[in-house]
Amino acid sequence: MMSAEERVRILREAKPNSWIAFSEDESKVVAYGDHYSEVVRAAESAGEKEPVIVKIPETWASKIFQYAP
């Protein structure tokens, strides 16, 4: 698993409203994509069978009730 600082940097630098796939052990990024289906396929193409998927929000604001649009 990568350091907290590295993970935060990667998430912060990712394109807003996109998706990111980490390796199963979360040691590296294996794919980026504009859509869930795209990032999963890209991760699988990169040889990652169980990529951990995270959606990048429009903004990294503090959260109160996570599902606020």
Binding site: A4, L11, P51, I53, K55, S62, K63, F65, Q66, Y67
Partner: protein, 144 residues
């Protein structure tokens, strides 16, 4: 089993923690629908959420007819109302597999939320800020 909180960026330094990121409790969740399985979805435990909510793109990819589900309107603090669509799916998380009602919504700002109905009703959750980073533990509620 204890799970570490995960760090998420903040767009400004938090005036209390003095950090430009926040620790949040998150789990990897698989969603199943008619033998199709999602990738592991990093999902936040949110005790203030009435339901479990996931981005509808995940439902689309699983073959769920998302917009045919019962509509569920929801909102967060200080924001407009969003409509999601309810479907019963199978969740696998923390080595537990169970059926749960999930709201799928388009354009939400997170990958997945584990809320009261569908998640906390099945688990005793303990959040522990003693270590750094914080951690949490969940135990399945055994019902006859």
């Amino acid at each position: 089993m204890k799970y570490p909180y995960r760090p998420y960026p903040l767009n400004r330094v938090d005036p209390v923690t003095k950090l430009d990121y926040a620790w949040r409790p998150a789990l990897k969740v698989f969603l199943w629908y008619q033998h199709r399985k999602s990738a592991p979805i990093e999902s936040i435990l949110d005790t203030g959420a009435d339901h479990c909510v996931f981005d509808a793109e995940i439902g689309d990819e699983l073959g769920i007819p998302v917009t045919k589900g019962a509509p569920v309107a929801f909102t967060g603090i200080g924001s407009g109302e969003t409509t999601g669509f309810l479907h019963n799916v199978t969740l696998t998380l923390a080595a537990q597999t169970f059926q749960a009602p999930i709201v799928f919504a388009y354009g939400i700002s997170t990958t997945g939320i584990l809320g009261q109905t569908g998640f906390f009703e099945h688990f005793v959750a303990t959040f522990d800020w003693t270590p750094n980073p914080p951690c949490f533990d969940i135990q399945r509620i055994q019902r006859n």
